[in-house]
C-alpha cells in the first residue's frame, strides 16, 4: 500500500520547495466589542517556511488564536497582511474564506458528533465535490487504516476516547491534502499520558507528510518536543517576542526529553515565557482592581 492511497499527493521527502510558506507582515488586530478598542495583536511579523513545524507559545489571551483565526480566514485583520505562498490571504480589505487548503484542528475538537467516524473523515472530499461519496469513504477507510485506526469507521465520536478522537480529527484534516495545518491547542484537555501518545502520533504524521504546521499551545514541553521553531508571544497586545530554533533531528521520540540540550532549551524558553506570564498576571490584577 502506498501513501497516495490515503493522502493524495503527499510525499515522504516533501518539504523543501513545497508549497505552504506563510508570511505574516506587520499584522495588527483590534477588537471593538463594547466601544473599547482592545489591541489583540500588535505589529506582528513572522515568516514560516514551507514544511516548517512552527509552534507559538504565550500566556492566555495573548492573541495566538487571533493570529490562527486570521490565517484560517475566520476573521479579518486591522493592519498588515498575511501571505500564503506569496498570495495575500488576509488583509484589512480582503479575507479569503476558510477552505480546505488551511485545515484547522480545534481546541476542544470539532468532529461532528452526529456523523460516524467514516463520514466525518470523508466529509471534506465529498462536499468539495472532489470525490464521489463512495470513493471518499473508501479513501477515508484507507487513511484510517494507515493511521492505525482501521476498525472504528462506523462508530460515533462520543464512543471513542479523547486521544482517538483527536487522531481522527487529524485524519479528517489530512484527507483534504491541505497546504497548511493549523492546530489550536489540540491536546489541551488531555491527561499527560494520552497527551504524549497524541504528540508522538502527530510527529509521526508530520514526518510522513511534511506540511507546514502552525501549532498553538501554552505547554512549553509540548512546544519543544514538536517544533522546528518556537515563537514566544508577548502578553496583550500580542507580538512575537523571540524565536527559538529547536535543532533536534527527526524523527523524534520521547527519549529526547531527557537529553541535556533539551533541558537547556527548556530553561531558556521557560525564562522568556515566565516574564510574560508574570506581566499577564499583573495585568489581570490591574483589570480586576
Amino acid at each position: 500500500m502506498t501513501m497516495s492511497a490515503g493522502v493524495a499527493g503527499t510525499r515522504a521527502d516533501a518539504g523543501v520547495g513545497a508549497s505552504g510558506a506563510i508570511n505574516i507582515r506587520n499584522v495588527s488586530k483590534t477588537y471593538d466589542p463594547l466601544g473599547v478598542n482592545v489591541l489583540a495583536v500588535d505589529n506582528c511579523s513572522v515568516d514560516i517556511a514551507a514544511g516548517e513545524f512552527c509552534v507559538v507559545v504565550g500566556p492566555s489571551g495573548c492573541g495566538k488564536t487571533t493570529l490562527l483565526n486570521a490565517i484560517a480566514g475566520f476573521h479579518d485583520i486591522s493592519q498588515g497582511e498575511i501571505l500564503l505562498d506569496n498570495k495575500p490571504i488576509c488583509t484589512p480589505t480582503h479575507t479569503s474564506p476558510p477552505g480546505a487548503d488551511r485545515m484547522v484542528v480545534f481546541q476542544n475538537g470539532a468532529l461532528f458528533p452526529w456523523s460516524t467516524i467514516i463520514s466525518n473523515v470523508a466529509y471534506g472530499p465529498t462536499v468539495q465535490g472532489k470525490l464521489s461519496a463512495r470513493d471518499a469513504r473508501n479513501q477515508a477507510q484507507n487513511l484510517l487504516a494507515e493511521l492505525g485506526l482501521p476498525e472504528i469507521g462506523d462508530r460515533y465520536p462520543n464512543e471513542l476516547s479523547s486521544g482517538m478522537r483527536r487522531r481522527v480529527e487529524i485524519a479528517r484534516a489530512l484527507i483534504n491534502d491541505p497546504t497548511v495545518l493549523l492546530l489550536d491547542e489540540p491536546f489541551r484537555a488531555m491527561d499527560a499520558l494520552t497527551k504524549s501518545v497524541a504528540q508522538e502520533f502527530l510527529l509521526q504524521v508530520y514526518d510522513k507528510v511534511r506540511k507546514t504546521v502552525f501549532f498553538i499551545t501554552h505547554d512549553l514541553e509540548e512546544a519543544l518536543f514538536l517544533a522546528d521553531r518556537v515563537l514566544v508571544m508577548t502578553t496583550r497586545p500580542g507580538r512575537i517576542k523571540y524565536a527559538l530554533k529547536i535543532d533536534f533531528e527527526r524523527p523524534r521520540n520521547f527519549h529526547m526529553r531527557s537529553s541535556k540540550r533539551y533541558l537547556e532549551l527548556k530553561s531558556e524558553v521557560f525564562s522568556a515565557v515566565r516574564e510574560e506570564a508574570a506581566k499577564a498576571f499583573e495585568a489581570g490584577e490591574r483589570e480586576l482592581a
Binding site: F106, A110, F112, S115, Y123, V127, E146, N176
Partner: protein, 302 residues
C-alpha cells in the same frame, strides 16, 4: 504499508451492549435488548405500583367510602363495567363502533395538525436559528403571536374557514397552532444550541451553504426538534379537545362535552383515559423515531 504508525489498532469495547453479529440487525434487536434489560430493573414495577395506588385511591374515594364531594363521580368499577359491556348504558364501550369513530377522528385531526406543523415549523425554525437576518424579521412576530391563547383564535378560525370544510378545518387549525409554536421555537433553539466550532469546521472543510444546512444545522438541531415535536403533540391534544368541545360531531373532546351535557359520567372518564393512553402512545412513537434517527446520542460511553 508505508505509513505505519505505531499506534495499535485497538478494539474498543462496547459497554453494556450485546454484539448482534456482523449484520447489525440494529434497531429492533437493540430495542428488545433494552426492553429485557429494563424489566430486570425495579423502575417499571414501582411505576406499576404507582398506577395501582392511584386506582385504589379513586376506588376508595368514590365507590368504597362514597365521600360527599365524590359521590356523584363514577368509580373505577362502574367505568370498567361500562367500558367492557357488550350492551353499554350510554352506547360507548370497546364493543361499539362509535368509540373507535371518536378515536379515529381525534387521531386523524392531530395527525393532520402534526404534519403541517412539522412541515412548516421545522424548516422555518431551522432558518430562524441559522440566518440572523431572517430571525430578526420573524422572531418578534412569533413572540407577539405566541402568547395569544389558542382558544382566542376560535372566532378567527371559524371566519377564515367558513364555507370550505367549515367543520374540520377550524379544529385542525387550532390544533396546528399549538403544535406549531412548540415545534418552531424548539427547532430554532436547537440550531442556536449548536456549537459555533462545528460551523467553522464545516466551512474549513469546504462546505457550501447547502452542506452546512443538511449536514450541520439539521442534524445538530435534531435533539431539540424531537423535544419540540413531543411537547407539540402534547399541547396539540390539549387544543384539539378544547376545539372539539366547541364544534364537531365526533372526536374524544366532543364525546366528553356531549356526555357531560347528557350526564353520562362514565363515558367522560372512558374518554379521558383514552386520551391519556393515546397521548402517551404518540409521544412514545416520537421518542422511538427520534432515538432511531439520533443513535449518536444514546450509545455514548463518555
Amino acid at each position: 504499508m508505508v505509513f505505519a504508525v505505531e499506534a495499535p489498532a485497538r478494539q474498543i469495547e462496547r459497554q453494556n451492549e450485546p454484539v448482534f453479529g456482523k449484520s447489525q440487525v440494529g434497531g429492533v434487536s437493540f430495542a428488545l435488548f433494552r426492553l429485557r434489560h429494563s424489566l430486570t430493573q425495579p423502575a417499571p414495577y414501582i411505576g406499576f405500583l404507582g398506577i395501582v395506588s392511584l386506582l385504589l385511591a379513586w376506588y376508595l374515594l368514590t365507590e368504597f367510602f362514597n365521600l360527599p364531594r365524590f359521590n356523584k363521580l363514577p368509580g373505577p368499577v362502574a367505568v370498567w363495567t361500562e367500558f367492557t359491556s357488550r350492551t353499554p348504558k350510554y352506547g360507548i364501550s370497546i364493543y361499539t363502533p362509535d368509540y373507535y369513530m371518536h378515536i379515529f377522528w381525534s387521531v386523524w385531526r392531530v395527525l393532520q395538525a402534526f404534519f403541517w406543523s412539522t412541515v412548516l415549523g421545522v424548516p422555518l425554525g431551522l432558518f430562524m436559528g441559522w440566518k440572523k437576518t431572517f430571525r430578526d424579521y420573524s422572531f418578534p412576530i412569533l413572540e407577539i403571536v405566541r402568547p395569544i391563547p389558542v382558544l382566542a383564535w376560535v372566532p378567527i378560525a371559524i371566519l377564515i374557514f367558513a364555507g370550505i370544510a367549515s367543520r374540520e378545518a377550524p379544529i385542525v387549525f387550532l390544533t396546528f397552532l399549538a403544535t406549531f409554536y412548540a415545534t418552531i421555537l424548539n427547532t430554532m433553539l436547537g440550531v442556536e444550541s449548536i456549537d459555533e466550532v462545528y460551523f467553522r469546521a464545516a466551512r474549513c472543510l469546504g462546505s457550501k451553504p447547502r452542506h452546512i444546512f443538511f449536514r450541520v444545522v439539521l442534524p445538530g438541531a435534531l435533539p431539540f426538534i424531537f423535544t419540540g415535536l413531543q411537547i407539540g403533540v402534547g399541547v396539540g391534544w390539549f387544543s384539539l379537545v378544547a376545539a372539539e368541545m366547541l364544534s364537531g360531531e365526533y372526536g374524544l373532546g366532543f364525546l366528553i362535552w356531549d356526555s357531560y351535557v347528557l350526564s353520562q359520567f362514565e363515558v367522560i372518564v372512558i374518554a379521558m383515559m383514552t386520551l391519556g393512553v393515546i397521548g402517551y402512545l404518540f409521544s412514545a412513537i416520537i421518542r422511538l423515531v427520534g432515538s432511531l434517527l439520533m443513535r449518536w446520542t444514546e450509545r455514548g460511553t463518555s
